[in-house]
Amino acid sequence: MASIEFKNVSFGYEKDKIIIEDASFELEQEESICMVGPNGGGKSTLIKLLLGLIRPWTGQIRVFGNGPESSRHLIGYMPQHLNFDDQFPITTLEVTLMGCLSSGSKIGPYSRKDRASAEAALEKVNLGEMAKKRFSTLSGGQRQRALIARALVSDPKILLLDEPTANVDQSVEEEFHNTLKELAEQISIVLVSHDLGFVSGWLEHVLCVNRSVHMHPTASIDGKTLNEIFGDNIVAIRHDHDCPPGEHIHHHGEDCDHGK
């Protein structure tokens, strides 16, 4: 069974303005992909469809064989962050606990079990000792990891990240991608990104979203192709230059060559 399955899905917010047209693709279980495309091309819409927040005009979406609404708890989600107000008094643990909202009781406080899973999720991203600290005191990188923990807390099978590194500096970004790379060995990651370079080494497929939706093997994408499809707003640089000669021929195609 595919983890995500789109069959001829079309959607738009207004009647004559189609955003996603006839999208069909499948994602194997435990496979990770990167979603790229220009702003306004439909990436966020695709995410909303996947989370069951909007319903397609036509076509069918299946997440582990069920409708997206009933599979919501299987998808851990990290939104493109967050007008976070530094004066918002909330602890890292309280932020992480929000990941438990879709499971458990709808009325009353979080359960002891929720708290245990939130603490465990923070441990997993090496933030265990920050649990009781105010979220606003965390560094940019730590905040990103806390939000990952929040997405992981419900034990999802898919982790959906919308431009997670849009507002952090490059060292944080690299560290963050290492965390993701490790996670990708356990669950399937759907990463929305402007920057293919970071992920091309460990993701096999790229989902190109620009009204139409196409899955490409990462190896077949090079900077020139991307520029043709999306214009200039996509970065395709390989940041780790030490590709072993054998590996880059077999898996990465031209990746090392167009890096600079």
Binding site: L53, Y77, P79, L82, P89, I90
Partner: protein
């Protein structure tokens, strides 16, 4: 040095003062809790509009009571109804994003007050003291007000116990809350309704114009002192009660109305805190060099 407030509370004839104080302390609970959500969700302006709109209902209530002969109809009921209607209007506009939010808030605010003022002017059989509704007057606080405050306060408390985690989620990160299947419009509306009910609780004591400050300033101070939201709520409830006590004491000493005195205490504490915080921050950053 004795406390004027304590002396006055022992005065047998001052029932109203005992009621006012009890109502204030009871209401502090709702003010601290709902104020925390209002401040973190940044809807102070909306809560302010709702409070001002309550005058429409008060006006109608006075008219109904004195001109239509609805003796049972307390103007406070009217205030609650008007506050609820205005929060439904504003909430719908915000949620559907159908109109300019700030324009609609301003319009609701002004129209609510206009309706109230016209109704009050149409009351001819008795003289209505508008000032007492705008700025509060503890002489009018009665035992039935105390019941209204208690019942509404308990309802707010129960809703908070039930749905605190949903409220936190929509205050912190609406988009994520939605992705977890939280009915964001429902809880947003519920939050506005709770604010509506809460601001009305102390209309008798503080008046509709200034009540918003007592909703938000204790919570704003609480947010500086606490690490998390539960702590912020506890601080806000405490600070709100202290403002009420100090404000009442202050009003007795200078023989002035209670409402403005309480707000003045709250404002002085808030701005004083900000100032000291800035000065300390300045000293610290320059001390490091």
């Amino acid at each position: 040095m004795g406390s004027e407030l304590i002396n006055a509370l022992n005065e047998p004839l001052f029932d109203f003062l005992r009621y006012a104080l009890a109502a204030g302390l009871l209401a502090s609970l709702s003010f601290g809790i709902v104020g925390t959500y209002v401040v973190t969700k940044r809807i102070t302006y909306i809560a302010g509009a709702i409070a001002h709109c309550a005058l429409g209902g008060i006006g109608f209530g006075l008219y109904a009571k004195h001109e239509l002969g609805w003796q049972w109809f307390d103007p406070l009921y009217g205030a609650i109804i008007a506050a609820v209607i205005s929060s439904l209007i504003i909430g719908t506009v915000v949620l559907t994003r159908s109109e300019r939010e700030d324009t609609v808030i301003g319009a609701t605010w002004a129209v609510g007050m206009a309706v109230g003022f016209l109704f009050i002017k149409m009351v001819r059989t008795v003289t209505v003291n508008i000032e007492s509704w705008l700025f509060g007057d503890i002489n009018f606080v009665s035992s039935s007000d105390l019941w209204t405050v208690a019942i509404l306060g308990v309802s707010v408390l129960i809703l908070t116990i039930f749905f605190h985690k949903q409220f936190v989620a929509i205050c912190f990160d609406e988009e994520f809350a939605r992705s977890r299947g939280i009915n964001v419009p429902f809880f947003y509306m519920l939050l506005l309704l709770m604010s509506a009910v809460t601001v009305v609780l102390l209309v008798r004591v503080i008046g509709i114009i200034m009540v918003i400050a007592l909703l938000t300033l204790p919570a704003a101070l609480g947010s500086r002192l606490a690490k998390g939201l539960p702590g912020m709520m506890v601080w806000a409830v405490l600070i709100c009660s202290i403002f009420l006590l100090l404000g009442l004491e202050f009003s007795m000493r200078i023989d002035a109305p209670a409402g403005p005195s309480i707000i003045l205490v709250a404002g002085a504490a808030y701005f004083g805190f900000l100032l000291i915080d800035k000065i300390l921050g300045y000293i610290k950053s320059h001390g490091d060099k």
